[in-house]
């Protein structure tokens, strides 16, 4: 068990190193750099030289990568932004908080809702409830999130004027100022998430409810809801856990688009502008943070599977 977790951690670190190397080399291989992007038409002659010299861009790529990597490992320092000339840790800090607030709220609403609806649909299979839930989920899945976002903005922000259409607060605003702004983005994210997860929960719950041990529990006289929650649900959640992990991974990507649509001051908007600016260390830092979250979520999913499935946890006797 411990060995397995250690194994996964080592693998996680290797994954992160690989991600950083890949992002660095891809961005480096592209023509142009932060100075050409920054200076635009004036990117020539002395100005360009000076700009590059200021940012130590004349050093070989390997050396810059090594320096950056050393900073991350030794002090947790993600480096300095080339464009904004600020510490990346400070730049990322608040925006990361904002994004996490968004994603976590979406996950906390979406996952339990998906499990509830999935179980409900499975138990009412082929009845009106199931047909309604299933059709709704297909609809939510096929609609691209920027379309559903626009739709929600039109209804709730423009027509009903309940929530702001775009975020106008700054990235370092206190949490309570942020709150009304997250309602619509969270709704869009949760919608898609719920749809994906509930379909998986539904189908695995249907399988489990048809299994021998559920029939046996019924014939033992176990009350219906006890069968559903104690006997069936843990087994039904097993395949769903991996889908949940994948969906959370999707969430990290989805957040980038949603933040852009709602102009939300999160890590997604920061990343898009960093790419636009060719701000290499910033792109890299964000990629590292997102990859770390991704790896972490998958590790969590594996551990949940272990907890749910005694077959993985305990040896055969």
């Amino acid at each position: 068990m411990l060995k397995l977790i250690l194994n996964r951690l080592v693998l996680a670190v290797l994954t992160l190193v690989a991600v950083c190397t890949l992002v660095f080399s891809v961005t480096e291989a592209l023509p142009g750099d932060v100075c050409t992007a920054f200076l635009g038409r004036n990117a020539q002659g002395v100005r360009l030289e000076n700009c590059r010299a200021d940012r130590e861009l004349h050093k070989p790529a390997i050396e810059r990568f090594a320096d950056w990597g050393y900073g991350v490992v030794s002090q947790g320092d993600l480096g300095r932004s080339l464009k904004r000339n600020k510490s990346i840790n400070k730049l990322v800090g608040n925006r990361m908080r904002n994004t996490l607030v968004l994603a976590t709220t979406a996950a906390l609403i979406g996952i339990p809702l998906a499990i509830f609806l999935g179980v409900l649909a499975a138990l009412r299979r082929d009845k009106a409830t199931d047909v309604g839930i299933s059709t709704g989920s297909i609809f939510a899945m096929t609609l691209p999130e920027f379309v559903s976002a626009t739709l929600l903005i039109y209804i709730f922000a423009i027509q009903l004027k309940w929530f702001p259409a775009v975020t106008t607060v700054r990235h370092n605003a206190p949490l309570e100022d942020l709150l009304p702004n997250i309602v619509l983005p969270v709704a869009v994210l949760a919608l898609v998430m719920t749809a994906h997860i509930l379909r998986m929960v539904r189908s695995s719950m249907i399988d489990v409810m048809a299994s021998d041990f559920v029939q046996m529990a019924r014939l033992k006289g176990v009350p219906y809801w006890q069968i559903v929650f104690r006997h069936a649900l843990p087994s039904a959640m097993l395949p769903a856990v991996n889908i949940i992990a994948l969906t959370i991974a999707w969430l990290l990507g989805g957040v980038v688009i949603i933040e852009q649509v709602f102009n939300y001051p999160g890590i997604g908007t920061l990343m898009i502008s960093a790419i636009y600016d060719r701000d290499l260390p910033l792109v890299q830092a964000i990629a590292l943070v997102l990859a770390a979250i991704y790896v972490g979520v998958n590790l969590l999913a594996d551990l949940t599977s272990l907890a749910l499935n005694p077959r993985l946890r305990t040896a055969r006797g």
């Binding site: 041990f213 029939q215 019924r218 006289g221 006797g317």
Partner: protein, 694 residues
Amino acid sequence: MNTVYTNIGHTSTGHTGTGAVNNAPVLRVENLSLGYTRHHTDGRTSKVAVLRDVSLQIHKGEVIGLVGESGCGKSTLALALLGFLRGGGEVLGGKVRYGKTSLFDLPDADLAALRGGDIALIPQNAGQSLTPTMKLGAQLAEALKLHSDLPQGQYRARAIELLTLVRLPSPEQLLERYPHQLSGGQQQRVAIAMALAGEPDVLLLDEPTTGLDVTTQAHILELLRELRQRLGTTMVFVSHDLGVIARISDRIAVMYAGELIELGSCAEILRSPAHPYTRGLLAAIPRLASGMLPAALPGYPPAVGARHQGCAFAARCSHVSPDCQERTPDQTALGTRQVRCNLPAPQLRQPLQLEGVPVPEVTVGEPLLSLDQVAVSYQQQSLWQKLRGQPESTATVDGIELSLKRGETLALVGESGSGKSTIMRSICGINPPRRGHIQLDDQPLNLPVEKRDAVLKRRVQMIFQNPDASLNPRHTIAEILAQPLKLYFGLTGAACRAKAAELLAQVRLGEHYLDRLPAQLSGGEKQRVAIARTFAGEPDLILCDEVTSALDVSVQAAVLQLLKQLQAERGVAYLFIAHDLAVVQAIADRVAVLYQGRLCEEGETRDLFAAPWHPYTETLLDAVLQPDPDHNPKLHSDDAAESQPPAQGCPFQNRCPRKLGSQCDNELPDWQQIRGKRLRCHIPARQLIGLQRV
């Protein structure tokens, strides 16, 4: 044990185990018909009956055996005794009464209280019927909470009592375990303990020993017999195996096509069955001592819910008259029993004659296959382990020396995990041996199947256990048979089809089967197609892996006859695996007994079965149940399952009833050759022969 006994609410009514029962019926099935609604494509609906007009009274303290082949409705009937219908099922008529209450009229809540409380079920596959994510202690506690008046604090103590009652070792530890950590036999015992938690009046046992090894099966049956003696519980025992039923039942109810066709005392039905189907069924069961092939019942059982006019068995009956096609026979009394047949009473009373079919003469030819010191392992050493110099793990199968001649049948027998299938897999190249040599004539067979050339592949063919899985459901029979013909002989078009029809004729199937899909065939017909496909390659060696275990008894006999006839015509050699030793007796010339992947004894079938000298062979053969009310199995060693062969010494050391001592723990016994047999045991063969006679 006494404390446990007093805690169970029932006291034995003092019956002796055969028929001395209290007269009040506990459960009454009255003209019960169950079925479902079939929706036709044109929107019409019709009722399909799965169970037709069944009447049965179950008396307090008796054990009633429900027998019949697959699809005859015996499990449906057993579940109906719990007021349970499978998905989509409905009551078409009649009632099931428990005491005065009619089960199908009870509200769900009352029915739930009754299930597991008054009437409890012991399921067929305990491994799949125990909830995999719950500890056994929690599952037992749940049953106690639902169906006993005990305070919560006593659940644990009671659960331990129940596990002790079913003779499970170290019950305290078991409470903390999950179902998958137990062996099949242990799981079944837990399921029995759970059923006893509610101190039920009636126990329903749905094939509780099917899928278990012979020895484990015999042990579970002994346990059930003992529980029945002590607690006086009424039991309804469902099984397709008349040997099992014979061991435990007071009365037997024989089912066919959803009807109860014969009901009577155990001894009466087994000795002088009245209904032609019961007679045919008994004759089709292979018997250990017969030395012949069993007589096959012609035809196949009807599909579940198939409609018929007149008698359900008319199509397969040897005494059929025009009247049988018209008139549905009633359940009529014949002495103390009930029979559903149109034949006049004197004809029904004729004694049973078991006429076997003589085994066709096969000329045994040159040596074909030889295995020399073969060892097979599923775990491969990784490069890392090799570099670190770790010793190889104990091989799954080791030291196998066997030989097989043309036209001969060699059977591998042993409990599950004894390495039978592993040896077969290494011969056909799925899992090549780690050490040793396999040779076909003088060609090496050590190669994995991908590296064998077409001729070698053609010469070694395999018939699988389950034709549903081994025949592609989307290919017609013609396409299935065309594959080997095209691959090995390059046949196409009309020539291929003609050859395929010829192959079908050899397995006694008509040409019209060519354009059907496997789903349109019955189990026995599918296995015939699988056999035809195997013979399409004109092989020298056929590996038969449990080829009849998925088939009904009445169909099995015909398949065994077919295999033997084809062998006589073609001179092929069979390497045969079967868990049913009576089947082995009927078909094999020689038998090799395996335990934990090691050979124990080998010899001619007749000699070996008549005098099993090795303690393991003896244990195995004495545990076999027979459809004979006078037959008693003997249990020599416990049924503790071992997951791995011991690293040194005799493989059977842990379970051997005749173990000598440290010699058995440390030294692998040498082969002893005696009277045409060879065996591996530290006890001198002459002494073993002496022990057997006692």
